[in-house]
Amino acid sequence: MKCVFIVFNQANTSRVEYLLDALKISGFTMFEEVQGRGTNGGEPRRGTHTWPELNSAVMTMVEDDRVDELLDTVKKLDLRNKEVGVRAFVWNVEKSV
């Protein structure tokens, strides 16, 4: 089991929900209105006067074999418009109840 953390510009919210539906991933936890800054370029999303945009984030636990498919789809979404970006990070799930 892997945890995929997807963080995206708010403008992508409905597309992210759509891609999860499309991949039949039903479980997720969503954080609305999170702030963030990228390491490799891109505008910061701080919700301030200078950087007014905000991100949201989704954490979803998927079986190992579905991770690539998910990341690939996220990549597709990112390619749609680089400025309205989306990032995904994967780590291991040690235990769960």
Partner: protein, 1056 residues
Amino acid sequence: MSIYKSAIKKPVTTALIFVAVAIVGLFSMSKLPIDQFPEMDPPFITVMTTYAGASASEIETNVTKLIENSLNAVDGLKELTSISKDNISVVNLEMEWGTDLDEAVNDARGYIDMLKEALPDGCSNPSLFKLNTSSMPIIQYAITAKESYPGLDKILNDELITQLNRVDGIGSASLSGAPERYVYVDIDQAKIDAFGLPLEMVGNAIANNNLNLSSGTVKLDTEQYQLQVRSEYVESSEIGNIVVTTTQTGQQVFVRDIATIRDTIKDLTLDEKVNGEEAVKLVISKKSGANTVQVCKDIRKELAKIEKVLPSDIKIDLIYDSSEEIENSILSLIESIFYALLFVVLVVLIFLGNWRATFIIGITIPISLIVAFIYLLFVDSSLNIISLCSLTVAIGMVVDDAIVVLENISKHIDRGSSPREAAIYATNEVWTSVIATTLVIAAVFIPLTMLSGMAGILFKELGWIVTIVVSTSTVVAITLTPMLCSKLLKAKKVKVDERGKLVEVKEKRGWYQRIVVGTLDKIDGWYANILRWCLRHKLTTVSIAILFFGLTLIPVMTGKIGTDFMQQTDNGRLSVSIELQSGTRVEESAKLARRVEARFMELVPEIERISSSTGSNDQGGVASLFSSTTNNKISMTVVCSKKNERERGITEIAEVLRKELAVYPEIIDYQCSTGGGMGGGSTVDVEIYGYDFDQTNLYANELKNLISQKVEGARDIAVSRDEDRSELKITVDKEKAAYLGLNSATVSTYVRNRVNGLTVGYLKEDGDEYDIVVRLQEENRNSITTLQDISIPTGMGNVKLSEIATIEEYWAPPTIERKSRQRYMRLSVTPYNVPLGQIAANVQSVIDQTGTPNGITVRISGSYEDQQETFADMIILLLLVVLLVYVVMASQFESLAKPAIIMLSLPFAISGVIIALWITGVSLDMIGALGFIMLVGIVTKNGIVLVDYINLMRDRGYELYEAIALSGASRLRPVLMTALTTLLGMLPMALSTGEGSEMWHPLGIVVIGGLLVSTMVTLIIVPVVYALMSRHGERDKEEKLRKEYIFMQISTKEEN
């Protein structure tokens, strides 16, 4: 932090805020005066001008027309009417209700000042009056006496009136019909002729011997005295001993030789009787601004004290006490409020089956209602019929919001939340929709405050009170209700069983669970089944509904539903006016009055008192100008027992009296009108405009006959123009008169002295003065022949009146009535057991059949006109309200179609109203129309609850029909509950038999009928139409949107 969270976190503050509100409210209530209606000034201004010696038509052209033309420009003028009669012109201005009268009076005064120059010389300055409600009598007593009757006037004036005037708030207390003491010197014409004495000489002799004159001072030694001639009469008998003259033979002629002296009470011109006994009427009016109920209470208390001091044969009976009526109707309304409260709480208890929940809901009622008192005190209003009715209307609605909140909280608690958490989150879920439904109510009631005219005055308070009360209930529902829920509701008891499993502790299944919950569950299931069937047969369902709606329109099409302006109220009082042949002596009229009274008493045992007056008080001054009793007219006030103590209604009794009056041949016309209240009795008036008196009279009589024959239920058809009055005219031969050194003026003075009498001074006794009147004895002035025989003194001895003048009978021209600056007369028709609208239609058809002659125009007015105007206002209001409600709902659902679905319940509300009116036989009036407008809000509220839930279910992904059936089953109880609370809240109003309750019956009936039918239909037709319209609804739209996302097709392969 949101308001409900704060409320739950600070329970003490929340509770105490509402306690404080309740205390302020109760304090306001104790300060509120009790009154019949909200304060309103009837917008009438009267301009009175006298022009001595001018005939009616001269007055009309020279005074009335000029005044009318200039006053026509006054701002806010609604109608201009005038009366021109001999010597007097009266112009009445009816302003729009709600006009600032002071402003209007100033305006009118300005115009009259400009006009003054143009008025004829000798014409008095026009004087302006404002009709004031405070000038109306608030309480009337009949005072009867046996032995003390002759001295009653003095006793009452000295002891009663002076003491009464001390009561705070009394404007005036006056006696009418009191026997006044007069000293009459009745001269025998033949005897003074024998001595060759003129009557004036007798008068002078009496006057000259009735003196107290100072004749200087006298100094006697060390002292000084005033010298006075004191020859004033101490007793009336002294008058007989006055020497009038000494004849040439040296014989002294005493007054007693030529006249009889009567120290008696004044000759009869006004005959006041109560139950046929000699009576004096005590009429008391209040100061403007004083509170009727309080003043009447003080008067009663004071009178009880005075009565003990008065001689024992003097009896004081109450004829009319306006405070009694007010108190009774207020009491019956308070009763309705308590019944409504009881019913509402019972409904809540049955549906929730939980004392704590019922308490939480129930507490919102008093808190919300009490706030209305604060508002009333704030705007200087009173506890009146309107404000209390508004409270009754509001009772059923104030619990709705609290029910929605509580229901949701209980649901969360059932799921296992702690009451506190449940209160916060459940309130959060519903609070916006609670506010939205309140907005709908506000959208209905706020426009009511904007109405103009009389309806505006009536409904302004209603609009504000309901809006304020319902808004308060919303505030309570989102603060106090969740707070109380968090404290009072109990979480479900759970425990862990021996196997380590969590189990619910089952409550005992009491009778409530078995019977009530079982029944309700059954109804839920049954309803869901019907709904499923209807959803499968949508077209059939819709067709049946349309057919049903069409069928209910039939009673309207066939004229089964009547219209009225206002229901006639039964206050147990009738005014009867009887007209005899003109010229009938007042004594004769009085005799007939006694006979009629006796018959009335026999026929109608319900009668408690009849007070009648015949004739007019010739010294009445300005007041008598407005009263219409003359010697040939009898006016009676018949007081019956209280409404609920008798079986016959007041209109039935009136009909009995009418039948009796029709029997007497000497009665040429009679009216029997049931009592007043707002806007007086309801009549249909036919206004006949035309310049020619004869032509209009003829036409009016023709119409009168036709209407009485052809129009069913037409009673008391009265013509406003009086019959020509018979008068005796003295035409002086000016040539002969001049020859004798006389002229018309001197002749008229002489005749007046002899017939009417010459007041020659006063008999003083105990500080009171009584007139001494010298005139011819009655036998010398009671026929044309004896009048011709009156001696007129000249320089050459006496001549007979017949020598210099002729006396003939002639008909005095009537008073000239004008309206809108045209001569007109009015034919008023009172309906009996027939709605006003129908009478008006029938009268119109009679008019159409007869056709109107050239030069005459006819118009139907009266209450019917008011009704038409008000209904037109109401229709505009209805459209406005529907539009506003649509706007509120559309913004709540963010949809244009959903509100339209909900509004489908409205036609069925119409059906319900029609059925209810048809069954009860009540006609639709202004108050009923108001009920219908209120229905718009009440009915749509049900639809909102339902549609909102269907939307929710569909968003949760349920299939359309399943979503509808599920929501139906789940929302049935709240819908039934809110509908039932409103319905039962209105029930006491519809059923009440208290005084003045007739007025509000239609409101209750309309709301109950409309709500009942529309709720039943709404539960079926709204879901079905929802299904029809949402086939390709919002969910499909979302799918479409998603299909536009094409990013999935983008390739992620690096291109290099």
